[in-house]
Amino acid sequence: MATQHSRIAARFMVAPSVVLLFLWMIVPLVTTIYFSFLDYKLLVPKPTTWAGFDNYYYFLTDRTFIASILHTLAIVLGVLFITVVGGILLALLMNMPFWGQGIVRVLVIAPFFVMPTVSALVWKNMFMNPVNGMFAHIAKGLGFQPFDFLSQAPLLSIIGIVAWQWLPFATLILLTSLQSLDGEQQEAAEMDGASVLSRFFYLTVPHLTRAVTVVILIQTIFLLAVFAEIYVTTAGGPGTATTTISYLVYMQSLVKYDVGAGSAGGIIAVILANIVAFFAMRMIGKNLDA
């Protein structure tokens, strides 16, 4: 099928994509690395000088940086926990026979299609606002003091908002995986006298493992970069209570205009993401062969 001729044609067809992605990835990245070794502040009118590892030292010894790593981890792990556990339960529920499956499915996946700025602002104002939000109205109706979510539990509130956005994704993937479960195998196990519980743990759970892994890896990639939700709700605060690595780099570079330190932070973020990506790629690569 593949002749010498078609091979050459194929190279030409792939080339534009490869060149574009290469430029998109390498040129800015190399520039960021270069900047990260400079003393380069846009607001200070002095010549840019070589800074060695000063920017990295500044970033790594900054208390906010350590805090931002912890906040990022809290968001990633918190959202993963809620969406994976919630997603499994929801997928199991929706995989059972009931009336109106199609409609419920549509309702459940809807939040995934809501743009991040909308979901964050709607939760912030219409639900979590301590004066006019729905939770405040409910609390007052029941005779309690309204709770100011975003100032008293900012990180948890953000985890809640982001989890609401990602729960549909986890549910949909786990449900898809459940539906591809081999029915005959289940029946055979049932006939051999396997109980509901043992069928769940020995057939369903191993089958779901792969889907759960995929959910965890893909969500981690997106969750490490959560930005818009923080930008429109807390702007990293109160104080630095919700400053993540992404947000910190943004603050350093485009608010304080410290290009050098911002770049160093960006490179640290890239290294952290690469550690996750390494495992993700191995996982997806394995599936490619199957």
Partner: protein, 276 residues
């Protein structure tokens, strides 16, 4: 006996599932309901708001005071433009990788995917400064370019998994029957590839529509899409709940409808074919 217990459990599951579905969907329903009330009524308690008269005031206010149409058009141009461009560049690439695979095809695909895993903040500063120097800051062109590059790996991957499923034997059979290359492409390949291309397009328009890192960083007003417009409500003046609801409803409605049509493709596209 057995039948009555299954009916009973089906009723219970139905109630449970609908309740959960309703709760998850509730915030979206609520902004929809709120958007049809006045600013004064929108901040009342939930029942008082529902009991107050309905009006389309907020929709008119968003159109006239905030020129909603401009942001909507920017969103359309940026999301459709970047998707179409990515398809034009990606289709030949996915095509040749699926049908003329070489020794390095798999590595190449993995490498393309790895570009998706680069955190945006790692390349933010050079791009921001580059855009500033070249005057691309706050232009649709700039955002379409970024969007194309963000979409490209997903486009190639999705198309690759779709094209892979087209049996090569059919092409060979057509060739045996004396089909020319052009009729082979036109009558055999295109009809089989179109559904895959369509769903790839749909998913990528959705993803670009909702993209909210680059659009927040690189636009301010002229090229600002809806993500940026909605973000402007984070520091509003005066009462804004009804207006925010109206703007949000209009911003998410088209994508919600498209999204519901692309459920199955969503799984495939976002898991890069790992879960089907």
């Amino acid at each position: 006996m057995a039948r009555s217990t299954t009916t009973k459990s089906k009723v219970i599951v139905t109630i449970g599932a609908w309740l959960v579905g309703f709760l998850i969907f509730f915030p979206i329903l609520w902004i929809f309901l709120m958007s049809f009330h006045t600013e004064g009524d929108a901040i009342k308690s939930p029942f008082a708001m529902l009991a107050s008269p309905w009006t389309t005031e907020a929709y008119q206010a968003v159109q006239t005071q905030n020129s909603y149409g401009k942001f909507f058009m920017n969103s359309v141009v940026i999301s459709v433009g970047s998707t179409v461009l990515a398809l034009i560049i990606g289709i030949p690439a996915a095509w040749s990788m699926a049908f003329v695979p070489g020794k390095r095809t798999k590595d190449l695909l993995m490498w393309m995917l790895s570009t998706k895993m680069m955190p945006a903040v790692g390349v933010l500063i050079p791009l921001y400064l580059g855009f500033k120097v070249t005057g691309l800051l706050d232009t649709r062109t700039g955002l379409v370019a970024i969007g194309t590059l963000i979409n490209l790996p997903i486009v190639i991957w999705m198309l690759y998994t779709y094209f892979k499923e087209i049996p090569v034997e059919i092409l060979e059979a057509a060739r045996m029957d004396g089909a020319s290359l052009s009729s082979e492409i036109l009558y055999v390949l295109t009809p089989m590839a179109l559904p895959g291309i369509a769903s790839t397009m749909l998913l990528n328009v959705i993803l670009s529509w909702n993209e909210a890192f680059w659009s927040l960083q690189l636009t301010t007003s002229d090229a600002a899409p809806l993500t940026q417009f909605i973000a402007s409500f984070s520091a509003p003046e005066g009462l804004f709940y009804a207006k925010l609801s109206a703007a949000s409803t209009m911003a998410i409605a088209p994508i919600l409808i498209m999204g519901w049509f692309s459920q199955k493709q969503l799984v495939r596209g976002l898991t890069f074919g790992a879960v089907k």
